[in-house]
């Protein structure tokens, strides 16, 4: 079983809402940086898997997935 599906995306969407209003850097990168700083590798993997599997998400969240650091396989 993986980390509650909707919750990770909901948390990422909240981050997107914040970073989307910041002028200093592109929101997807900022969201990913915040996720990399504060989520465990497993949560990050679940998140990316969910996005890759086509989970519904804000475009910023979707783009952020590309910048999320994944644990070495």
């Amino acid at each position: 079983m993986s980390h509650d599906h909707s919750k990770l995306i909901r948390m990422a969407s909240q981050m997107a809402q914040f970073f989307g209003t910041q002028p200093d850097r592109p929101a997807p990168e900022a969201v990913a940086a915040h996720i990399n700083e504060s989520w465990t590798p497993r949560m990050r993997q679940d998140f990316v898997d969910q996005i890759r599997a086509g989970a519904e998400a804000d475009p910023v969240v979707r783009e952020a997935a590309a910048f999320v650091r994944l644990p070495a396989a």
Partner: protein, 959 residues
């Protein structure tokens, strides 16, 4: 060895600050004191104690007892030394024939109306009246027995002047028969506490101390039981019940209160290993001799009969507890934790450190996770209170801490209080703020509820912006809009200390009409003109300070709100000088410390990210293990992972997450899904209902260590008695770690602090020797600041330039609708503390026996709810029942309650919404419906059933 400290000498009148020094001669001894000092204090400085009764250095001079008269050359008569200021070249004689004669006469009058039961009096040995009778050489009372206040009856019948003792307060007794009407208690209630509950009624011989109206007792009056009156009373008139019961103390142990984040210093007055009373230390740098009902009186929980002192284990959480040896309990815990890791991987277990435990204990618990579990699954209850403060202030200023010390409030011209209720949550700070408000400082309160600070007696105008819960960011951004639009900002400060281009970008953002007060008015339901008025007042004050609490952080936009606050301070230059700043009021005693000590899963001690190779190298060297560069699980993540079957074991020290964390059903389901839950606590708390191992904890009176208060002040906690469970909490953690393969060999917390100092730059200069010498220090404490740092960011921000973060308002997902039309917000009350585990086990329950729901009259009427009715509060998470109190303190559409009692379980109702940056739960906004009810909810019944079952302890076999 016991710390024996001679009680601070009373200098008679308070110290005075002045640049001008005055020289005088007292009894032939030359003395130099600051101008404005009293003759009495100057004499005390010279080592001479002038007899006194109404004077004490806690209070301004009053000049009523006439005992402190002296002779001053060139002055007529005998002036009172307490009210006479020194003058250059003054020649004072504190003892002459005439002075002695007058004093003896005065004492004779006092004693003529005072019982002579000294031997059996509770103040025997600690009575200033007794001392003064001795000091002036009183040998006889020549007055015939007559009209008096102390005899119950005489030959002619009952004495009409006699008043019986008032024993309504559970902690102290008021015995009018012993009162000398020196007014110290009344003055303390006004000057120190700021409540104005006491007064002198009547005149002349009829003068009496009275709490509230004539019909009031101490309990029914406005008295908040802070103990200031008891502390200054020179006789047995106001005295602690514990002293009446036990007798006078024989030694003092200096320590720090284990309640809120003010971190008051206390003198534990001991007789053997029994606490006789706790008296706030006059030299305490946070509290300067003041206290509240919790620290002063509510320490009885430490010896409460429900205290658990033996380790216990059980296979399943539905089994009864089995009392076992420490060895068995620790082996059981260690084996199961290792088994979980073997079965489910290294990351399947974790720890929760405690904001109620010491820095040293917290440090060891996070070290256990990092160095022994080999993961970073460590979090602390600050997750659910001030984690947004950490994120917000680190982003804007560069460090995760409040900027100022509490003393700074004495210099503030205006206090902006946001989402905090200091008179209840941080009472000693509130008293200091109220003093400043009486001196004329302005007050602005941003809070959905009308807090008591707004009713401060004798203050000037206080502005209340009763905003709708969840609109903090919109409100603060509107205030910033006004400051920029009306050019009220401090351009020089911004140019020097921040990035001007960043400011321009932020200004452009702010000037958009969507941030104007007129636009925000509809969201926050506060008139635009009031928002403008508040913004102008904050910007106009020469020194404006911001104090905030959990009403800021516990929101989905908690971190954004903290940054909006930081922006306001930077825009107006209110940083870096006394009287200004951004000051989070921390909930628990060691919230600051537990965060500093690396409790968060992404940060080592001193707020250094786990991915930073240099920091990791420091700890890998110190601990001799390889460390994980990846962030661990936060508390809510732990619960989610537990429900996903991947998180299987938890060591939880001194926190009651079942009661204190949101969405109780989610928390209990997560705990029930784990293989091993180890709880270390004083009591079988709510979380222990889901535990397999119970390790008994030690109270703050039973251990050595340090707490760090809201002003970054590291205060000593000293052991006053032997731990009832046999070990200090850090020893228990060490035993568990060693069972799991660590080879720790700390013999005293000072060694743990030495390791912290060695590995953490901001603590580099901290040592127990320094703390013993200085009393306390505020971090950063290192080569650059060897004695610590009272005010931060004086010449520049820690991060270099202050950062203006854009603060767009995003409405919370928690919205009212047809099903849940009201907004519930939560808070705390003076007499209770957090989950109530401690205060519920004291007499404090007389003030707050249950949690109640505050509801506006119109909302109550619409629902047919009357005062005191049982009501059901339901949200999308769950429902609970409690009693209603109808009041206009809350706005229509808003209801309010506290979370001190487990039977109410207010957190069954709160949701899993959280702060976008830190997952701090949104405790302060829950959409609810309220309806009449006739009994406990299904959940409450179910929970009570499990709780009764889970708390059973098997009787131990007869020896």
């Amino acid at each position: 060895m016991k710390d024996f400290i001679i009680p601070d000498r009373d200098m008679g009148t308070p110290a005075v600050n002045s640049d001008v020094t005055v020289n005088l001669l007292v009894d032939g001894i030359p003395v130099s004191v600051p101008a404005g000092t009293s003759v009495m204090r100057a004499a005390a400085v010279a080592g001479i104690s002038v007899p006194k009764l109404c004077a004490t250095d806690h209070l301004a001079a009053f000049g009523s007892c006439r005992l402190c008269v002296v002779q001053i050359e060139g002055m007529r008569g005998l002036p009172a030394s307490c009210t006479t200021p020194v003058a250059e070249g003054m020649v004072v004689h504190t003892q002459t024939d005439e002075v002695a004669q007058v004093r003896k006469g005065v004492m004779e009058l006092y004693i003529s109306d005072h019982p002579l039961d000294c031997l059996t009096c509770a103040a025997n040995g600690d009575c200033e009246l007794q001392d003064m009778a001795g000091a002036v050489g009183l040998r006889e009372v020549r007055y015939e027995p007559g009209k008096n206040h102390f005899t119950r009856r005489d030959a002619e019948g009952p004495n009409p002047e006699y008043r019986p003792k008032d024993q309504s307060n559970p902690y102290f007794t008021f015995d009018p028969a012993k009162c000398i009407v020196c007014s110290r208690c009344v003055r303390a209630c006004e000057e120190v506490q700021g409540t104005f509950a006491l007064t002198i009624e009547g005149r002349g011989f009829d003068s009496r101390v009275s709490a509230g109206m004539a019909s009031d007792s101490f309990l029914s009056s406005d008295c908040v039981s802070c103990g200031a009156c008891v502390q200054v009373c020179p006789t047995a008139t106001l005295i602690e019940n514990s002293v009446i019961q036990i007798g006078t103390p024989e030694h003092i142990v200096k320590t720090t209160c284990a309640y809120c984040g003010v971190g008051c210093s206390f003198d534990a007055h001991m007789r053997g290993e029994e606490v006789v009373r706790m008296v706030p230390s006059k030299d305490g740098k946070a509290n300067h001799g003041h206290s509240c009902v919790k620290g002063r009186f509510a320490w009885g929980y430490a010896t409460h009969r429900e205290r658990q002192t033996q380790p216990m284990v059980r296979e399943r959480i539905t089994d009864p507890w089995r009392v076992v040896s420490w060895d068995e309990a620790l082996d059981f815990a260690a084996t199961r934790l290792r088994q979980a890791q073997a079965d489910f991987g290294r990351d399947s277990i974790g720890v929760i450190t405690s904001s109620r435990c010491t820095n040293e204990e917290t440090y060891l618990v996070q070290k256990l996770a990092r160095a022994v579990f080999h993961n970073n699954n460590t979090d602390t209850c600050a997750r659910v209170c001030h984690s947004p403060t950490g994120y917000g202030l680190k982003t804007t200023f560069g460090t995760s801490a409040g900027t100022h010390d509490f003393d700074s409030v004495d210099e503030t011209d205006l206090a902006l209080v946001i989402g905090a209720n200091p008179t209840d949550g941080h009472p000693v700070f509130a008293s200091r703020l109220r003093k400043r408000l009486r001196e004329g400082a302005g007050l602005i309160v941003l809070d959905p509820r009308q807090i008591d600070l707004l009713k401060t007696p004798h203050m000037g105008e206080g502005l209340h912006l009763p905003l709708r819960p969840g609109t903090n960011v919109a409100m603060l951004t509107a205030m910033a809009h006004v400051i920029v639009a009306e050019k009220l900002y401090d351009e020089a400060f911004i140019r020097e200390r921040c990035d001007w281009d960043e400011f321009l970008a932020y200004a452009e953002f702010l000037l958009d009409p969507r941030h104007a007060p007129e636009a925000v008015e509809t969201l926050a339901r506060v008139p635009a003109e009031l928002i403008r008025k508040a913004a102008r007042a904050y910007a106009a004050a020469p020194r404006a300070s911001i104090y905030y609490g959990l009403g800021v952080t516990e929101h989905s936009q908690g971190s954004t709100t903290v940054m909006a606050i930081a922006n306001l301070a930077m825009l107006t230059g209110n940083i870096g000088k006394p009287g200004t700043g951004v000051n989070p009021l921390r909930g628990q005693n060691n919230v600051q410390g537990s965060c500093d000590m690396g409790s968060f899963p992404h940060e080592y001690p001193g707020y250094r990210h786990v991915s930073d190779p240099e920091t990791r190298a420091i700890y890998e060297r110190a601990w001799g293990v390889e460390l994980s560069p990846e962030p661990g699980l936060r508390i809510p993540n732990m619960f989610d992972e537990a429900l996903a079957g991947r998180f299987r074991g938890l060591y939880c020290q001194g926190e009651d997450i079942v009661q204190s964390d949101p969405d109780t059903r989610h928390v209990t389901a997560a705990l029930a899904a784990m293989d091993i839950v180890v709880v270390q606590d004083l009591f079988l708390n709510e979380t222990s209902n889901y535990a397999h191992v119970f390790l008994p904890g030690s109270s703050f009176l039973e251990k050595n260590g340090t707490f760090t208060n809201a002003e970054r002040r590291i205060n000593m906690v000293r052991r006053a008695m032997t731990p009832k469970n046999g070990y200090e909490d850090w020893e228990v953690t060490q035993m568990l770690a060693n069972r799991m393969g660590a080879a720790w060999s700390y013999t005293h917390p000072r060694e743990i602090m030495a390791e912290i100092a060695l590995t953490t730059p901001s603590f580099a200069g901290v040592s127990y020797d320094l703390l013993e010498r200085e009393g306390s220090v505020q971090w950063p404490c290192n080569d650059k600041a060897p004695l610590g740092t009272p005010v931060m960011h004086i010449d520049g921000f820690v991060r270099g330039r202050g950062k203006f973060v854009h603060t767009e308002y995003v409405a919370t997902e928690e919205r009212t609708g047809a099903r849940f039309p009201l907004l519930l917000t939560t808070g705390r009350i003076l007499s209770q503390y957090n989950v109530g585990a401690q205060t519920r086990r004291t007499e404090n329950v007389v003030w707050h026996p249950e949690d109640i729901l505050e509801i506006h009259p119109s909302d109550a009427e619409n629902r047919g709810i009357r005062e005191g009715d049982w009501v059901r509060v339901a949200s999308r998470s769950g429902d609970t029942t409690l009693r209603a109190h109808i009041t206009e303190r809350v706005a229509p559409g808003v209801v309010y309650t506290t979370f001190h009692h487990p039977t109410t379980q207010a957190n069954v109702v709160t949701t899993d919404n959280s702060d976008w940056a830190t997952n701090c739960p949104e405790f302060k906004v829950t959409a609810v419906q309220v309806s009449p009810s006739n009994g406990p909810s299904e959940w409450q019944e179910e929970y009570r059933h499990h709780s009764d079952l889970a708390r059973r302890i098997l009787p131990t076999a007869a020896e």
